[in-house]
Symmetry: C2
Subunit: 327 residues, 2 copies
């Protein structure tokens, strides 16, 4: 490639900022601009041009791949098909139950307009999905386990902050070490929700709030906490800001399988330990942006997932270099 891949970013939250960093580190990419629903003049994008989202339509000849950095809850179901009609796109859509509909809508928009859209990119869905697929394709007999954490769950942190008397708070999802150890030993245990993860909360209470009532409300909250062992720690706002100001995450995908009728056991394990969930996720998005650009060049249009992408397409290096250095 002589020309650099021209990348646009839609949305300038944590993911958008992470993508900006990742694109700036890619030798074969340049960042054309950030597209936002806010007033562009109000966004300090560290030197990158900022445009209104609506301006994107007139810039189709200036951008090769658009990285959609909105959230699954509200943004992507609209933005995904909208931008796939105009650009090659990458997104991190993660509302699992709605992936079939989302895939179909994006596929239709992308195919009708000769674009490539890789959906549900990141680490789960994303790298964890890939590892489930590789491991199950190789060890066809066995069990797959996914553990998440230790890491911050945005949804659970939001849920805590909605409890009466709570001023601020954060929630960590923590995998149960003894459960991981059993899986690694090849025991193939049946594990309940409670046996796999526990939930650790750090809560700043309002002055004069009833702490035991806050704790009770959190621990019994349906869907979020009631099926888990939950620990609630009350701390000061200062401590929260000093010690809980990052967004770490990670987890484990473990396949425990066998060959030769059970005579031999095998464990495949993939794990991530991430200081910054959004910066890692956007690093994955950026690698797949390269793949989308290349697939579009081959005319292989439509919606894709990480399952459909040959690994070599993610790297800036040539096939020859990859075989020499990494095979």
């Amino acid at each position: 490639m002589n020309e650099k891949i021209r990348v646009g970013i839609v949305g300038y939250g944590n993911l958008g900022k992470g993508t900006q960093i990742a694109v700036s580190n890619a030798p074969d990419m340049e960042l054309v601009g950030i597209f936002t629903r806010r007033d562009p003049s109000s966004v300090d994008a560290k030197g990158t041009n900022v445009y209104k989202s609506d301006d994107a339509a007139s810039m189709q000849d200036k951008i090769d791949v658009m990285v959609l950095c909105g959230g699954s809850a509200t943004d992507l179901e609209v933005q995904g098909p909208h931008f796939a009609a105009m650009f090659n796109t990458i997104d991190s859509f993660d509302t699992h139950a709605r992936i079939p509909q989302y895939f179909a809508a994006v596929d239709n928009a992308a195919k009708s307009n000769d674009n490539v859209s890789i959906i549900s990119v990141g680490w789960d869905p994303g790298m964890f999905s890939l590892n489930r697929l590789y491991a199950e394709s190789i060890l066809t007999k066995g069990e797959t386990y996914t553990f998440w954490g230790k890491g911050v769950s945005q949804g659970h942190s939001d849920a805590i902050r909605r409890v009466e008397g709570v001023k601020n708070g954060i929630q960590y999802t923590v995998p149960v070490q003894s459960a991981i150890d059993r899986v690694r030993r090849g025991e193939n245990p049946k594990l309940t929700t409670r046996e796999k993860h526990l939930r650790e909360c750090y809560v700043v209470a309002e002055d004069g709030a009833d702490l035991s009532e806050i704790e009770r409300k959190i621990k019994t909250m349906p869907n979020y906490f009631d099926e888990y062992d939950t620990v609630v720690n009350f701390i000061t706002e200062e401590e929260l800001k000093a010690k809980h100001n990052k967004m770490p995450h990670g987890g484990f995908v473990i396949r425990s399988g066998e060959t030769n009728g059970g005579a031999n056991k095998h464990i495949i394990e993939y794990s991530l330990t991430l200081d910054s969930n959004p910066e890692f996720t956007s690093s994955v998005l950026t690698a797949y942006a390269r793949a989308a650009y290349r697939l579009a060049g081959k005319g292989d249009f439509g919606a894709k997932t990480v399952f459909d992408i040959a690994p070599a397409l993610l790297s800036a290096a040539s096939g020859e270099e990859l075989r020499k250095k990494l095979l």
Copy 2:
């Protein structure tokens, strides 16, 4: 697919036997036969038809993919191009320095005859290579470490057995735990050969042999042992047969990287713990046989490596099922 993928196996050693097991467990494959240089009537293949290697040429319309289960040292450089001219093939070629030449020779044979040949499939090269590629494409700034073991090295075991006074023996490659721990902590250490692995030998000596001389010869053997800390344990033939009769192996690929100018660190780790190296390797070969068949169906001919294969091609499940169950 209504019809099953018709698989042939060339060579009936450990890898060939493992492939026979893996194909028998694949719902969408059938094993047509085993091809050997030995007298077919002398090979007990547990009910599978056995043919002479030379008979393969007349069976091109009966076999969709040939899995080449010979060794890299002597067999594959001849067998690879030979069979790639007649069949879609999979092999585990692992003589790293010779991969470029081997790739070119197989590519030429495969392309000239409209076949697909996936070379260097297994776990290293293979799954470890893939994980190096994925991890370096995502975390572009960082260091990648590969540790092997604990596992049996065939080459080092052979080297021990050639020492005067040695009746039998086996060698385990053992990764140094403290080195792995340093890498996991994100220290990005520079590690020497000696700091990464040690070598554990179990040796059965001939009656009356000079044990200290055997130990000295092993520990100072150039290329094999002199750059490592080596432990030599003398045991009886009975103990060797009872406790060292499997071919376990495994290892770790760890990428320690950073984002945002080093403000955030991330660790990606992939590890394997295998009771049977050949049975796991042949499980990988079998999954890639499925991919070779599918690529041939699309007319995407030539030599490939694991880097070129979209993960979904490895699974018997449809894209829709994969998105639903594993994404």
